[in-house]
Each structure stands twice: as structure tokens, then as C-alpha cells.
Amino acid sequence: MFLLYLLLLFILIGALIAVEIHNLLSSVIAVGTIGLGLCIVFLLLGAPDLAITQLVVEILVLIILIRATLASSMPDTYKGREFLAYAVTILFILFFGGFAFFAFKSLPPFGEPMLQLANRYIYEGWQKTGATNLVAGIMLDFRSLDMLGAATVLFAAIVGTLVILRKKGRKEVNERDEPGS
């Protein structure tokens, strides 16, 4: 339990650094620490499936982010945000956090979730799907439409990067047969 809080603190510090640091590359690396810390948190919470997905996703994101950062050769200039923006942000966070704190009191306490549905999955799931990994059973059998959706989102994003990184967006005027610009 102590370890968990320590890790959460670590993630929080990492997030603060990532947002506030001036150098873009350091910021990206701080994002990496957040992701890896999160991976260990997942492991502690009994979700190894998530941990492995998070780990590989984080590695890939880091590769792409560093690639982008190095390519754009950004200098360290940083225009400080104004005091007013800071004040508004902090006020908003305080207000929202306080509100959420009171709201969370009426949630089921940590570690004692609503279990009627989860128990049905746990007791019936592996017999019905034949998968010993319950998470895979849920992802790809009970809730396979979600998985199809997630795969489609990724597909859309991949096509999107192809679209956005095209060399040329519009055809030249003489390539078209219509009049106009």
C-alpha cells in the first residue's frame, strides 16, 4: 500500500515536471517516467495485462515523441505564462478537486467495488468462453464490439497520419479539369 502511494507521488512529480519544464526533450522523457510508473502501479493493482500493454505503448509513444522532438530541433525558448492564467488554473483545480473530494465520499470505498457483475464474469466467464485469461475473454468475447471499436480507432489514426503527412495536400491548378483556384 505504501509502495502504491509512493509511486503515485512519483507520477505526480513526473507530471509536474513534464508540464513545467522548459526543454522539450526533458519534458518528453518525463512523460516516459509517468508511463513507466503507471505500468508498475497497474502491476501492483493486480492488472498485469494492462501493465504489459501500457509498457509497450509507452515505449512506442516515446520513440515517436523523441523522433518528432529531435526532428523539429526546437530551441529552449519559453514564454512564461501570465500570473492570471496560473491563478485561474489553481483556483479551478482547487474548486474541482474539493468538489470531487466530496463526491468521491459517496463512491464505494477503495477495494470494495460493486461485485455482482464482476462475480458473474469470474464464475461463469472462463467456462463460457474457454479462456483462462478473463480479461482476454471479456475483451474479445463478451465485449468484442469494444475491441473492434478500439482497433478501428487505431486504424483511423494510422490512416490519419498517412493523410496528414502527405507531401502535397491539394492538386495543382492544371491537374484539375474544373475552373477556379
Binding site: 507530471a15 508540464v19 512523460v31 526546437m74 530551441p75 480479461v135 478500439a150 489514426a157 490519419g160
Partner: protein, 86 residues
């Protein structure tokens, strides 16, 4: 030149904030699954896998757009930046 970089930086900052926030947003879903008597509840995990994938998709898209914007504003005339007004 500087203006373009500031915009870019602003954008990337926002984008990092959104990453940072995403984990905060995901966490409450994971909360219910700790220290069950026998197993943790598998349903939230299945959901979080989907959200991680969606987050990855959004991230690569945002990086692609940011790079393209950088290319446009890094090489084009700076006075034309901020063409769009709210």
C-alpha cells in the same frame, strides 16, 4: 520564427497536459478492482486496454499534426501565423 515556436510549444504543452490528465482520468476506473477476495474484477481492465489504445491513437495523430504545423510555420512567412481568430 519565434511566434511559430511559441505556438508549437503551447500546443505541445497542452498536449502533454492532456496526456497527464488522461492517466488521472483513467485511474478511477481501476480503483474498484483491488483486493478482491479471490480475483480482481476483470471488466475495468478490459475497458482500460481500450482506453490505452485510444490514447495511443490520439497521441500519434497529435504528433503528426504538430510536426506538420511546425513544418508549415517553421518554413513559411511568420506574419501569416494566427490567421484564425476565435
Amino acid at each position: 520564427m519565434i511566434v511559430g515556436i511559441v505556438i508549437m510549444e503551447y500546443a505541445v504543452n497542452l498536449f502533454l497536459v492532456s496526456i497527464g490528465y488522461r492517466w488521472g482520468g483513467v485511474d478511477p476506473i481501476i480503483e474498484p478492482n483491488i483486493y478482491n477476495l479471490t480475483y480482481v474484477s476483470p471488466l475495468p481492465q478490459a475497458l482500460v486496454v481500450c482506453t490505452i489504445i485510444i490514447g495511443l491513437a490520439t497521441t500519434i495523430l497529435a504528433v503528426a499534426m504538430a510536426m506538420r504545423i511546425y513544418e508549415k510555420y517553421g518554413t513559411f512567412d511568420i506574419t501569416k501565423i494566427r490567421k484564425l481568430k476565435g
